[in-house]
Amino acid sequence: MDIGWYLAVSAIVFAIGAAGVITRRNPLLVLLCLELMLGASSLALLAFAKMHGNLDGHVFALVVIVVAAAEVAVGLGIVVALYRNKVAVDVDELRELHG
C-alpha cells in the first residue's frame, strides 16, 4: 500500500486530536485527544519505518506507547484530585489562574 495513505490517516487523526484538545472542555476528553495525537505520531513512525525498512520507527513507537500511558496516568491523577476538591471539571472553568 502506498505510504501516502498511512500518512494521510495519521495526519487526519493528529488534526482531530489537536482540534479536540483545543475545543473540548472536559479534561478527560482532552486527555483522550492527546492520546489521539500521540497515536497519530506512532502511526506515522511505523509507516516511515516500513518505508525506510529500518527498525528505528518501531522502537520509537514503543516508547511513545509508554509515554502516552504515563501521561494519561498523571492526567487522570490530577483530574481525580480536582474532583476530590469538589471542583467543576471543565477546563474553561479553571479560572483560578488568570490565563
Partner: protein, 520 residues
Amino acid sequence: MTSLVSAAVEAPDIDWAGLSPLLALLGGSIVVLLVGLLRSRTARHGVVPFLTIVSFAAAGGLAVWQWDERGALISGALALDPLYLLTALGVAAAGVAATLLGVGTAAPREAAHGEFHGLLLVSGAGMVVFAGAQNLVVTFVGLELLSIPLYILAATELHRRRSLESGLKYLIVGSVGSATLLYGFALIYGATGATDYAAIRTALGDADLRDDVLLLGGMAMTIVGLCFKASVAPFHQWTPDVYEGAPTAVTTFMATATKVATLVAMIRLFDVALPGVSDVWGPVLAALAAIAMIVGNVGALGQSSAKRLLAFSSVAQAGYMLVGVVVGTQLGAEATTFYVLAYLVMTAAAFAVVAAVEREAGTDDGVAFEGLAQRRPVHAVALTLSLLGLAGVPATVGFVAKLRIIESAVDGDYAWLAVVLVVGSMISFAYYLRLIARVWSGAPREAPTPSTAVAPLAGADPVGDAVSGVRSPAPAVLGAVWPTTVVAGIAGAAVLVLGIVPGPLMDTVEAVGRSLPTIF
C-alpha cells in the same frame, strides 16, 4: 513484524563512568522514594531532603569528575561532552536550590516526601538525558522523563486548587507540545530515514532535502514543540499560570533547570543534526525569538504577582537565549550556554526570595515585597542583584551573558535581532525596577502572618500521609526561611562574582563550542 523479532541485537557499550551523573540522579530517586516510606518522621522530613541534596550534589560532582572525558554513552545514544556535563551541573545546582526551597513547605509534605523529592530527581535525570541526547528517540524519552514528573510536581499541593489547576494546565499544554514535537520528529525521520543526529546530518548532506515537504513540516512542528517547552512566545500562554500556581520550589526548578535542558537540547538538535538547513529554520527561530522578547517583556509590565512577572520575564529571556541557537555558530552555542547558566543563577536567586516572601506574607504579590530591605537585607540584595542581572546591568553576570549573546548575533549577521534584544531589555527595566523599588522603598512592614491556613493533609491516594499514622496539624508558617536565605545568598553572590570575574565560567563554556565541530 518479522524484522522486529528476528533482528539481531547486540549489547551496546556502556560507559558507566560517563553515565554516572545520570545514575546518581536515578539511583538517588529510588533511594529517596524508599526512604520516604519509613515511619519515622525525622527520616521523612529530614533525611529525604538531605539525600536528595546529596544525590544532586553527587551528580554535579561526577559531572565535574568527567569533565575532560569525551565520547558517546550507550552506543551513541547520549553524548559525553561539555554540553551534557554542564547541563548535569546546572541541573544539580537547580535541584539543590529547589530542594532547599522546598524544605518545610506544604508541597513535599502533601506529596509524601519521598515522592516529591524522587520526582525532582527523576525530572533532573530527564533533563540530563534530554540535553545529552544524540538521537530523536532519546531526545523524546528525555523530554518526557523531565516533563511528566514536573506535571505531577506542579500539582503536588493537593489541597490548593491553583496548584492542581496549574498541574493540569501544564500537563495538557506540555503534552500538546510533546505530541507536536513527536510528530515533527516522525516527519524528520520520514524525510531522512534516520533518528540519529549524525545520520540525519549525513542524510541532509547527501540528498538535497531543502524543499522536502516532510522535512520542512517536521522542522516546523519540532520548532513549535520545543518552543512550547522553552515557553517561547507565542507558545508561552501556559507559563504564567503554571509558574504562579505551582509550589514555588517546583517553579524554581521548572524555571531554571528546564530552561537549561531545553535550550541545550535545541542547540544540539539544530546545530548538530540540522545545521545544513540553517537557512530554513534560522529565520523562523529568529522571528520566534523576537516575538518572545517583545511579548514576554510587554506581558510582564502588567503583572503584580512576582511569580507571574518572572514567568513573563522567562519568556523574554527564552527569546534572548534563542538568539545563540538562531545564529548557529560555535560562538552562538557558547553564548547560549553561558546565558543559560547565568539565567539559572539569577532566576534561582529571584525565586528563593519569592519563596521567602511567600512564606512570610502568604502571597507573592508585589505589595508583599515592600520594605523587604529592612526586614531581610540578604534577600533584598539578592533579589536586586538577580533582577538587575536579568535586566543586563553591568557588574552582574547578566551583563556578560547579554554581551556574549549580542556578540554572537552581530557576528552571525543577526544584528537586527540584537537590536530587538536591547529594546526588549529596555522594556524589561520598567518592571524589574518597579519590583526593586518596592523592595527598597516602602514602609518597613511587620512580617505578616500567613493569610490562609493550609488544609489538613492527605495524599492523592486513599491513605496519604496516614501511612505513618501521623496526621500533622495545619502548620502555622509555611516553612522556615533559612533555606531561602542560603539559596538567595549563594545565588545572589554568584550573580555578582560571575559578573565581575566571568573569565573562568567563560573558559568553561568555550569547551562547548569546541565540542561541536559541526558548526563554525
